[in-house]
Symmetry: C2
Subunit: 418 residues, 2 copies
């Protein structure tokens, strides 16, 4: 899989062409993928690999930022999709497969009594907050600082974000992750005003080590939510099905009122879901939330097939084992070259950081890995899938080792803290 | 196509099942489809027809609320999609087909210098307003009262909408359609605060006759926008490609800064687009707006194929001619039975209203048409496609005539105004 005469001529040429008709050439979160030395466009994909337009092959540790979980072009999922395509996709009525998908989620996800569907993960998070507000008659939302829940205006934190108004965050309170005291303080400061708490099951921001819940954290949060009638929303769009197939909350021993799913649930077919408890079913019915494409039957058929296959192969367990082996291998390779690779987050979504070096050094290492056929992104968590193999680990570790060799001695890059 | 022993047993049974695991059984705008006497779920679709789960056949005048424009399961579009599926759909990089689609839009749509892509029509309208705010540094949005631009909180008008906060509309000014004086008054009251005006090319609300722009309306609006540096946004998600393939604005002789597309642009594959002028390209690059599924390559390939086919068959002209014939036929049928059918909106998206009867009478007529194999929805515009045929017009008019016969004499329903 090692690249011969690696070049990105065609990617670069297409990127220049793209800039003429697309602002920035590539937009949204795919901008993260754009590095001067790296590929910009894919030509084909299969299993855990894709090829760029210059025919360089990559083992993919980004998995389309999450959706790919069983491998690209998985025959079983594609077959389910094609069968539905032949019947019809977006029609003036819903398809019975919508009911089957909702039943599959209710069977599989322990906190789910019902399900609703959208397209973007942000559809699910936005709908969840609306339902919480409808159910409680309250306005305020507590979230984790730097926690990402899509691009809905009230979720875009920070000053000077183009197109976002200062008032967009008026009803959002940001607290630090794993900080129960801050949660209690927010409640105390806004008694009876808090509609909901929305958080990912563990902390997976960009540009910061990912962080698992502290012992007892979620139980304390759950207790406080129950005490103050705050709707507890888990945003499982990113981590969903990579920790525990019954909902990531199950791994951490608590029960939310609403769970947002997206990304991996249909192995790349566009769909998201919100599941919830019977107590919120009426509020979920009362809220008006929709989209022209919400009733596409094909992604629903693909999602049903994906969820069943994930269960059949015990996917979360498999990916956790793979992730552990991969991380162990990479840490060893780094150590052997005098580098300290810090791995954080869950095994199936590893976040890597070279310790005590500047960001540009970390990016340089990532760039060299990419040139050697391992698709990675700096300072963002990675994703693994059930399609990744032992051979992929060997190739990834070989590429990482070569990348460290190209960088040379770690001593030259060492800084006090990174 | 006339139904033998019309029954909806299976639809009803599935609907009851759906309610157990989906709030309301059917949600979002598809709720509009749910009538006690009508079908709830489809089993298959082809060309301009679909079959419900009880195997009743319908000629479809809703076209999936717009996406179906070339006919269900159009072989050319499906072939383009399948070819791309075999290469890859949602991968960690974008596909070159994204550039080709942007080029196609820029070639085809006269006001387009660039394009961005999303999933929901609401992604495009929300992004458009963000770009306008980023470009102008202003906060306020003028919209048309009852104008629908998706479910983004600041676009959901009216009191007591569950999950919507009173403050969500703080920066939105609603004015009446075709009212230039109101537009001028809004500008005068908020000098230098108006970021943009967003409107559909003509007024197509629900539960009200649709209304075309008055002579000179758009030119006056355009002049005022230029004078006050207000970004002019056309929401062409619904009407797009059914009035003029170069943008509905072309039919009305004006040039917006941004146009929102969705629905019909990929004949049912989920994608939306925002196109704009070079003057706003930098602002479009600066705004952060994204979604996990925004880079699906398959809907992009389907969209490119759809747009080329729409041009090849001169689709807007074809659908306008069909719509005119259909409307003429239905008005005649109504008159022959003593009813006054008011048709409004553009020919390819007719809005029907029985004049001087109560709403329940209009719904009763719609229900009887549906039972006779014509899929319609009360007090919402309909949609036609290039797949509808002369034979469909005959069948629709026959069904409508029978429906009027079942209702009986119009005199018994007549009220002073409706």
């Amino acid at each position: 899989m090692k690249q011969k005469n690696y070049n990105i001529t065609e990617s670069q040429s297409l990127f220049n062409k793209a800039k003429e008709v697309i602002p920035g050439g590539i937009f949204g979160h795919y901008k993260y993928s754009v590095r001067d030395s790296g590929p910009k466009f894919f030509s084909r994909a299969k299993d855990a690999h894709f090829w760029d337009v210059d025919d360089n092959e990559y083992v993919d540790l980004i998995c389309a930022y999450g959706p790919m979980i069983l491998g690209y072009n998985h025959p079983l999922i594609d077959q389910a999709a094609r069968t539905q395509y032949d019947l019809g996709n977006t029609v003036s009525l819903a398809s019975p497969v919508m009911i089957e998908l909702a039943e599959t989620l209710v069977d599989m996800v322990s906190a789910a009594d019902w399900a609703l569907f959208g397209k973007n993960g942000g559809d699910s998070t936005t709908l969840a907050v609306m339902i919480a507000r409808a159910a409680t008659g309250r306005e305020k939302v507590i979230k984790i600082r730097d926690g990402y829940h899509g691009v809905t205006a009230w979720m875009q934190e920070g000053d000077d974000r183009p197109g976002i108004l200062p008032s967009d965050g008026d009803h959002v309170l940001a607290i630090d992750w794993n900080d129960v005291n801050a949660f209690e303080a927010a409640i105390a400061a806004h008694a009876d005003e808090i509609a909901c708490f929305i958080s990912t099951p563990y902390d997976h921001p960009v540009f910061r080590d990912n962080s698992l819940p502290a012992d007892g954290y979620w139980n304390q949060i759950e207790t406080l939510c129950r005490k103050h009638d705050i709707v507890l929303i888990v945003d499982d769009v990113r981590a969903g099905f990579r920790i525990n197939l019954s909902g990531s909350n199950v791994a951490y021993g608590f029960t939310p009122d609403l769970i947002c799913f997206g990304k991996a649930m249909a192995n790349g077919y566009p769909i998201s879901a919100l599941v919830g408890s019977d107590a919120l079913k009426q509020a979920a019915e009362d809220v008006y939330y929709t989209g022209t494409q919400f009733f596409n039957a094909v992604p629903m058929a693909a999602a049903k097939a994906t969820l069943l296959e994930l269960q059949r192969v015990d996917a979360a367990k498999q990916m956790t084992e793979f992730g552990n082996k991969l991380n162990e291998g990479l840490v060893k390779v780094a150590n052997a070259h005098g580098y300290d690779l810090v791995v954080s987050g869950i095994p199936a979504m590893p976040y890597y950081r070279l310790h005590n070096v500047e960001r540009k050094t970390h990016f340089a290492w990532i760039d060299e890995c990419v040139k050697r056929g391992v698709y990675m992104v700096g300072y963002h968590n990675h994703f693994v899938s059930t399609a990744h193999t032992e051979k992929d680990i060997i190739n990834i570790c070989d590429a990482a080792a070569e990348a460290f060799s190209v960088l040379g001695s770690a001593d030259q890059y060492r800084i006090e803290s990174s």
